[in-house]
């Protein structure tokens, strides 16, 4: 049924999936060998089995779930705040040429600035608790969201908009039937990058100064030189980030080949 067939690849043993797994196994083997070689101080490269054991220990400790809960709450809150404000700003910048001309350069220059430099200010404003973490995560998420949406609005095909005009679409129909679906790819990209940087923002600020959270926990283990536990925490963060990414990829997308017309957008009644 696939529209594109990869001729000759079907029978090949080294499929993309298998190569990926092989890559992971190879990396693990190098890691283990380096650890066993004795070239490093004890515990700098803990064996994968010790990391797995540390993960197991974390999973049965109540304390871990408290830290996890704090971080998940911070990330989700900052993600929602950053995505909503970023979308609003992106729409304004994209729709109003003037607003775009005036403000977009600032956003472009601020976007790559490490937001962690704002943490001292945010600590004073919002305290050592979750407030400052959520603030930093939101600020981080805001920029990629705003820039992607602004670019997305400007890239909506003028021909599709002309088609809408010739069919005498009302303003709200134009937004619902053309702009919204046309913006979905930009929204998805903005959300995925936004989620990643809001996770980074929350964890970095937890690592720097906090009383709870995954970043704080990883920092504590690091200070105690409990590398296996520190890496175990990082692996859990990695898993959560991947899950978040997969959810966005699965639900924020346009129908396309493969859907066989069964998937309809909520706003395409």
């Amino acid at each position: 049924m696939a529209a594109v067939e990869y001729i000759g690849r079907k029978t090949a043993f080294w499929t993309v999936g298998r190569l990926r797994i092989a890559g992971v196994i190879a990396a693990l083997a190098v890691w283990e060998l380096a650890g066993l070689s004795g070239l490093f101080f004890n515990d700098v490269l803990p064996s994968a089995f010790r990391i797995l054991r540390a993960m197991g220990q974390l999973l049965v400790s109540r304390e871990f779930y408290e830290h996890l809960g704090v971080t998940v709450f911070e990330v989700l809150t900052s993600f929602v705040l950053g995505a909503v404000t970023g979308t609003a700003a992106g729409l304004a910048l994209g729709i109003s040429r003037r607003a775009g001309d005036i403000f977009e350069p600032f956003i472009h220059y601020l976007a790559p600035t490490p937001k962690i430099v704002f943490l001292p200010i945010l600590l004073v404003l919002f305290g050592v608790g979750m407030g400052s973490k959520i603030a930093l995560g939101s600020i981080s998420c805001f920029f990629p969201m705003a820039l992607n949406i602004a670019a997305g609005v400007r890239e909506v095909s003028p021909t599709l908009l002309r088609v809408g005009r010739t069919f005498s679409l009302t303003r709200s129909q134009t937004i619902r039937m053309i702009y919204l679906p046309a913006l979905i790819p930009a929204v998805a990209t903005g959300l995925r990058i936004g989620l990643a940087v809001s996770i980074v923002g929350c964890l970095l600020s937890e690592y720097k100064l906090a009383r709870a959270g995954m970043g704080f926990l990883a920092g504590q283990y690091g200070d105690k030189f409990a590398i296996a536990h520190m890496l175990a925490v990082l692996i859990f963060i990695f898993i959560l980030a991947s899950l978040g990414n997969a959810v966005i990829a699965r639900f924020v997308r346009l129908p396309g080949p493969g859907d066989r017309g069964s998937v309809r957008l909520a706003f395409d009644k």
Binding site: A3, R162, V163, R165, T166, F167, S168, G256, P257, G261
Partner: protein
């Protein structure tokens, strides 16, 4: 009632357009007066920059600021109008909609019930020869098929007048000829009043009842050529003697304008 019937479907009265630019005013279209009868197929042909697309955008309502008047069935119109449907040269199928849902698009906007719009869209897909492709997305279809979706979608609005702005320009020659046959067949079947913008002489002769030759800037109608080839026509007639004569006659007029356009282009670039 009798008066209404006799009135042309589309009437342009002294339609003209001047674009105001920072470098001064550009006269794009000199006053054009034109009547199109019910079921007539006319082509407007001219060199690049002759204002033919401007004229089409005025009739289609995308340009609202112009001189003169456009009447549909004797009623003056300005702005986009559901009696006038447009097909563009560029890709215009919504990539996130299946062929079927592309065709239902204008009917959704007009609030037609789902049952009716699906039924009508299936009929139109059949008309343009896309049976069996209704659940395919544009990315899965060829350029010619996507352009047929655009035509079916425009017809879904049941426009009195179908405007096509170089709809085959992005297609290869063979697809263009076959699609030309298809358009002509549809036009005959629906008795659809059609106005085609093109720069392809053979295409204009193959499809039209009348070919309007436009001059280089400012655009005005230089000559009208009646195409007296009998119907039903097809791209097979291209080898015929009369076909050749008509193409030669149009080229005779067009060559002068095209070379003016080329000189202008070289002057600007040089």
């Amino acid at each position: 009632m009798a008066d209404v019937k006799q009135a042309p479907v589309l009437r342009l009265k002294d339609v003209a357009k001047t674009f105001v630019t920072p470098h001064g005013n550009v006269r794009a279209v000199e006053p054009v007066t034109l009547d199109i009868r019910q079921g007539e197929f006319i082509s407007i042909i001219g060199p690049s920059g002759c204002g033919k697309s401007t004229l089409m955008n005025i009739v289609g309502g995308l340009i609202e600021d112009y001189e003169g008047s456009v009447e549909v069935d004797g009623i003056q119109v300005r702005g986009c109008h559901k009696e006038v449907g447009m097909v563009f040269q560029e890709e215009s199928a919504f990539p996130w909609r299946t062929a079927l849902n592309n065709v239902t698009f204008p009917m959704e906007a007009a609030g037609i019930t789902k049952e009716e719009r699906v039924q009508r869209a299936m009929e139109l897909l059949h008309l343009v020869g896309l049976d069996g492709f209704e659940n395919r997305f544009p990315a899965e279809l060829s350029g010619g098929m996507r352009q047929r979706i655009a035509i079916a979608r425009t017809l879904a609005f049941r426009p009195r007048i179908l405007l096509m702005d170089e709809p085959f320009a992005a297609l290869d020659e063979q697809t263009r000829l076959l699609l030309g046959d298809k358009v002509l067949q549809i036009q005959q079947e629906l008795n659809q009043t059609t106005m085609l913008i093109t720069h392809n002489i053979a295409e204009a002769v193959q499809l039209s009842d009348r070919v309007l030759i436009m001059s280089f800037r400012p655009g005005r109608i230089k000559r009208v050529v009646e195409i007296d080839l009998p119907h039903p026509r097809s791209s097979k007639m291209m080898g015929g003697e009369r076909f050749g004569q008509l193409v030669a006659a149009i080229w005779e007029d067009l060559r002068e304008e095209a070379s003016k356009g080329l000189q202008e282009l070289e002057r600007v670039r040089g």
